[in-house]
């Protein structure tokens, strides 16, 4: 017995952390990062400012965590989406379908606003955005799988290593998304991204 001492304090601590996370997520969705004060979050959670720092290293760290979670969630969506496609779908079609799904996620659930914030933060360097930039990110893995299979099956060709190709694809996405951010709303991400991917594919398709 006494096998699983729940330790009320630890449980409450975890609850507090979760509460802070959720309040922050909502507030950051409704207002800009800089408009949300730590005290706004802690006041709503019914604790003091200091307690915030028991659970999160800093405001930036919390934002970074939020971004990382969103990123990971998006990647999970992309992965699940790829698994629904027929296994024999040609790689170019898969790429276009994935492109559409990604732009849907970005323009849909994620939103240009969050995208802007993330892009600003990546530029500012004040917040850890490794989750977005890291080459081990699932997104890179997914692209790698698609491109690698396409090349193997002769549907695609490339003179450069698949790893490099993958990075070029993601970089292109980043470029298009950036344009979207700075030209929003005068920029059709979905259409522009589709066009761009088509261009990339045609450039690497065997004649």
């Amino acid at each position: 017995m006494r096998q699983k001492k729940p330790d009320k304090r630890k449980v409450q601590g975890a609850e507090t952390k979760k509460k802070l996370y959720e309040i922050a997520e909502r507030l950051f969705r409704e207002h800009s990062y800089s408009d949300v004060m730590i005290e706004d979050i802690t006041d709503e959670a019914g604790i003091t400012k200091g307690a915030f720092y028991v659970h999160f290293e800093s405001k930036d760290a919390l934002i970074a965590l939020l971004i990382a979670d969103h990123t990971s969630r998006a990647d999970t969506i992309y992965k699940a989406f790829l698994e629904t496609l027929p296994p024999d779908m040609p790689a170019p079609n898969v790429l276009l379908a994935l492109t559409e799904r990604i732009t849907e996620v970005l323009t849909g659930s994620f939103g240009c606003d969050n995208m802007k914030k993330v892009y600003q933060m990546m530029l500012a360097g004040t917040v850890d955005t490794e989750a977005v930039k890291n080459y081990n990110r699932e997104l890179y893995v997914l692209f790698h799988g698609v491109l690698e299979r396409g090349i193997r099956k002769g549907e695609l060709k490339s003179t450069m290593p698949v790893e490099a190709l993958v990075r070029h694809f993601v970089a292109a996405f980043r470029g298009i998304s950036y344009e979207w951010c700075i030209r929003y709303p005068d920029f059709d991400l979905k259409e522009q991204a589709a066009q761009h991917v088509r261009l990339l594919i045609e450039g690497i398709q065997p004649r």
Copy 2:
């Protein structure tokens, strides 16, 4: 003599003010209000912080001016739009058409982001948002014209004064827009606004 010296100083002053205005407009479009510092604006304009206050009373005053200008521009669009409609179009149709146009402006050129900022500011009260709230705003006048004519022609009816009716309409718009802001992007402003206006019309239409 010396009657109309072009007064280079004055000209340059106006130019500086215009420059500040335009830089501010762009920066505020690209970043959140609180992320843009006065120095960001003046640095880009090549002048010092102090000079900003020669041209604008405060940061909030500039934001208020920006909002007022945007509002006025939007109202001008609505007015012009109404003038393109056939004079004999029934009031309900005019209202629905105007609704569509407004939501187009809001979702299109103005954007949810600015809308949020404006709504936040109206709530915060730190910035003068009279241009948006004032009952003499052109938007109220336009609605007044449509409703008044509709009632006069028997296409609409109402037990309350047209002035009050107008305010109810604008309030309804405000409510729908607010929902749009806080539920964005999971809220179809255009569709929801159309539905709401239809409800309002049916509720006040003679059988």
Copy 3:
């Protein structure tokens, strides 16, 4: 039975306290008091912050204890030193010898840095420095013995009570030491203290 259970808890507690004490002593020697955090001490001791307060009332209390211990150790050194002097050594010589020994301890093992901290704390009043200031401190007793014997033997004379004389001597030491602290390293404590004591002695020596 169970008469003298070694009470492992108590033993371990004492060990933990000793460990904390020693770690604190070292850290305070290597860094300034305010740079050392409770967590630095407890982390190194392998316990948590809360446990610190089981053993010490506060950070200041620990510092006070450290100071008191150092003070007491110094006084023990002075006492032992006095006992090594020939019993018939004239009081003026004893005073000069004691002076030299004290300045040796201060400039040697104790150090100007700790001295400064102690003096700051006495001024700040946030830490209990009774051990240093208290007139019952061994240092006062020692001076009292020397002065009293000197007077009794006719080697010294004074119009004021020995108690007052003792306090003047210690105050003089305090003054010289303070000068040392704020002028360090441009102040030769040993030389200045010797000079000062010589002055005090000559002023109270019978012609």
Copy 4:
């Protein structure tokens, strides 16, 4: 005329900055860096906390500046000292003399305390200590001159490039100084440094 508008404000600004610098220098000499608050400095200067940041980027930046200035001053002393030595003095003797001078400066005017702070800061990385670490620091240049001349004249020999040799020498000094800091006052910097340099010289002297 109007050739040199002194611009009272600019002058006063410079004076304020100088005042802050001097007050800071004194306070940092008398207390530890973390015990000195910006407000202590600005209060004494008769200005507000905010004004501090008009003149210095941050507390750390001020400390870095102080360190850089001290470093540069020390290097100037070393350089001047070298120039007083007879031009025909053998390199080993020059090295020993320079060593003695350096340890005099460190143990004398600079002090172990400041040294500790600098070493702590170099480790902590919160403060810019480039002035101390940079390989272009005058100290490296001086050692380079001595070693290079010694090798050229056959008084020294080395299998490694002079640049590397210089770095080894400075690193050795750093090591010895570090020992001094952590073992202070039970470590005779002067003696230990002399011994160490003698060892280094014997290791590189031609037989």
